[in-house]
């Protein structure tokens, strides 16, 4: 196992992936590794939003490097925003914690009916349990009587946002709605609720210092999963022969809207049921020849990696990399988050380009390569996020329909639900890299449905 090493590039020889370049995160050594094939299982890119439920170390670098070596990046704008996360408390926030989906089995989501009551709750002059039943809007139950609190994640998230936009949000910041267990505790007893959700309630208490047995939880949507990723075929092969992508780093399986629990299923399917067979097929085709680690492509790729590290280390500006990351996150969340418009996305594109240009001028990267240097590690990752962010915006601009997690305000049903445009957009968008600061080229993979036909979703 190579722990504490980061892959920074893919080596291709005659168009086939034949190895990788890594940096040893302790010594700074840049190594090349050869292989008959390269399998990426490097996870999702939700941290492009700065705040997400993902681990701090999650990033897009491996997939992005592969993309820049020719692998198509598919549906980058498809992001899952999970409805039940603990709300942000301030600018110091470094990550968001998810409260499990299962809580919506027994918890009831509500917001106050009026802006006035919401204001009192925000100021703390009244507490949630003092809000009368008649003054509460169980908005999911009201709007979706047959699914109620169990509507899919994208619908629950958008509705919470709507409450906040109307001024009915709660909590100090106003960016939250309630998830209330009072009924469940009354119906099942506190012990039964504790047996089911005790660990989650404890976690909530640790973070917020509020007891969810007594006061409803405050929740707000947060970025959780990225359905987009490297384009792969049914064999999990990218369009670069010998380069495979498994798990969240590929785009497959979830379309525009991942359902709960299916990411771990995908991990099993990709790793256990698919790749052992499809990889063997590729190896049989290329035959048992040793990989020549002396091929100039290895040294060339290594030099590219070193040059980029030196370029990052030469940044001696005035703004920390973390600040750039936070700024990018704000742009992405504001304009490429739960609701997207042509106008907002166009603005975001300009903002990201400007931020990226500023990064390469004014960022501050301390330390050296030949040591443990988290500032350098982070700089490389944020530099990649600054490129990915623009592609996400391009993808969202191109897709004028609403689809799953991608909600374009211009494309709604009369009832305000996501409206697809299957005539024009029933395709996977696979983007092709064409060089730095060049527009990427869109390849379309048509989606054909033979047995189950596309219809409008309804949870009424």
């Amino acid at each position: 196992m190579y722990t504490r090493s980061e892959m920074l590039d893919v080596v291709t020889v005659d168009g086939h992936a034949k190895g990788i370049v890594t940096r040893n995160l302790i010594t700074g050594e840049i190594d090349t590794h050869t292989g008959h094939a390269v399998l990426l299982a490097t996870g999702g890119y939700g941290n492009v939003f700065y705040l997400s439920t993902n681990a701090i170390g999650s990033n897009v670098t491996a997939a992005w490097r592969a993309h820049k070596r020719g692998a198509f990046f598919a549906n980058p704008c498809y992001t899952q925003i999970h409805p039940t996360c603990i709300p942000v408390t301030g600018d110091h926030q470094s990550k968001l914690t998810l409260m499990s989906e299962s809580l919506r089995n027994d918890g009831r989501v509500w917001a106050p009916k009026t802006v006035e009551i919401a204001e009192q709750l925000r100021k703390g002059t009244i507490k949630a349990d003092q809000v009368k039943e008649d003054d509460r809007d169980y908005f999911l139950e009201r709007k979706y009587p047959s699914f109620g609190n169990l509507v899919p994640r994208d619908v629950a998230s958008r509705n919470a946002k709507e409450m906040v936009d109307e001024g009915r949000g709660v909590g100090g910041s106003g960016f939250a709605v309630f998830l209330d267990f009072a009924d469940a505790i009354h119906r099942l007893g506190k012990d039964a609720v504790a047996a089911k959700y005790g660990n989650l309630f404890d976690m909530y208490y640790q973070i917020t210092d509020e007891d969810p047995y007594k006061q409803p939880m405050r929740i707000y949507p947060a970025v959780h999963y990225t359905m987009g990723g490297l384009w792969v075929d049914y064999n999990l092969s990218t369009n670069v022969p010998g380069l495979y992508a498994l798990g969240e780093c590929n785009f497959s399986d979830h379309g525009a809207n991942r359902l709960g629990a299916s990411a771990l299923m995908q991990g099993l399917a990709d790793g256990y049921f698919v790749i052992p067979y499809t990889l063997g097929d590729y190896l049989a085709q290329i035959g048992p020849k040793p990989v020549d680690g002396k091929h100039p492509a290895f040294e060339q790729t290594k030099q590219d990696v070193i040059a980029r590290i030196n370029k990052l280390l030469a940044l001696k500006g005035t703004k920390t990399v973390n600040e750039y990351h936070r700024d990018l996150g704000h742009i992405m969340w504001e304009y490429c988050g739960m609701a997207r418009t042509e106008e907002g996305l166009t603005k975001a594109k300009g903002l990201i380009q400007a931020l990226r240009a500023d990064f390469w001028k004014n960022a501050l990267v301390v330390g050296e390569n030949e040591e443990v240097n988290p500032a350098l590690e982070k700089a490389g990752r944020v530099a990649d996020f600054l490129e990915l962010g623009e592609l996400m915006v391009d993808d969202a601009l191109m897709r004028k329909e609403s689809c799953g997690g991608h909600f374009r305000l211009e494309s709604q049903t009369p009832e305000g639900e996501a409206l697809r445009d299957d005539e024009h957009f029933a395709f996977v968008a696979a983007w092709e890299y064409k060089g730095d600061n060049q527009p990427e080229v869109l390849n379309k993979e048509a989606l054909d449905f033979e047995f189950v036909h596309l219809t409008q979703r309804s949870y009424k």
């Binding site: 196992m1 701090i56 110091h92 640790q206 301390v366």
Partner: protein, 258 residues
């Protein structure tokens, strides 16, 4: 709130370290302990200084990466949480907080507060898995397991491998960690075929890594953020003893139920 931090700084394993004092100013009680360190680090970077290095990843108590010996306790003063789950409201304005790395010969310092815990990886690689090919998927109810046993195995499996048990122990023993990893499999049917070889291999690796022995003090159990119980150690000792009574191949025949 404003705090004084006494932080262990050490360039790498080969040089001596020392405490350095920092001020942490305008800290919100809602911040996590690691977010407080983020704030300090941002100000260090802006001054051109090297940030304080510490391990972290999930920041929600599930990955086992964060560590830190805070005011004499692994993962700080509160019970049953990791450092990333510790919030600043636990401390009071003006307090001095002492922050050290895990200290154990088998966990050499990488830099500042981060230590090399790859010895745990090697113990796991020595046997902490099931290598029997599982074949096709079988129905969940095909191998019934009593709920009490399933629950116990689950409790053992909640060990996140952070190493707080080693840091807490005066002998720097890894028995709580290793026993949790042994027990979670020893209690379940899937773990049986390799039960006896596993415990021997993992204990041998634990000894080779230079961890100390267990003297039943119980500091590990008291400090474990996941409340892993010392009964795991009893179970492991029992299995180890049983395994040593037989030659390994006999153990295998025995285990396969002849």
């Amino acid at each position: 709130m404003n705090l004084t931090l006494k932080v262990w700084r050490q360039k790498n394993a080969d040089v001596k370290g020392a405490f350095v004092t920092y001020k942490a100013e305008r800290i919100s009680p809602d911040m996590s302990f690691l977010e407080m360190l983020d704030v300090v680090n941002e100000s260090l970077i802006l001054k051109g200084d090297e940030p304080i290095h510490f391990d972290h990843d999930c920041r929600e108590g599930i990955c086992g990466m964060c560590s830190l010996y805070i005011n004499g306790h692994p993962h700080g003063p509160k019970n049953a949480i990791t450092t990333c789950q510790l919030h600043m409201r636990t401390f009071h304005d003006g307090e001095t907080i002492v922050i050290e790395p895990w200290r154990a010969a088998a966990f050499p310092v990488i830099k500042d507060l981060a230590v090399d815990r790859s010895s745990f990886d090697r113990i796991q690689q020595a046997g902490g898995f099931v290598s029997v090919n599982t074949g096709v998927t079988i129905d969940a109810n095909a191998i019934p397991i009593p709920k009490v046993i399933a629950d116990e195995a689950f409790n053992s499996a909640t060990c996140i491998g952070c190493g707080a048990c080693v840091a807490a122990c005066k002998n720097a023993s890894a028995m709580l960690f290793v026993s949790a990893k042994v027990s979670q499999l020893a209690m379940l049917p899937q773990g049986q075929p390799e039960r006896w070889s596993r415990v021997q291999a993992m204990v041998a690796q634990m000894d080779a890594e230079g961890f100390g022995n267990c003297t039943n003090t119980g500091a590990c159990e008291a400090e474990c953020p996941k409340e892993i119980k010392m009964t795991n150690i009893s179970l492991m000792n029992n299995d180890y003893f049983s395994a040593k009574l037989f030659r390994e191949e006999h153990v295998h025949e025995h285990a396969s139920g002849e």
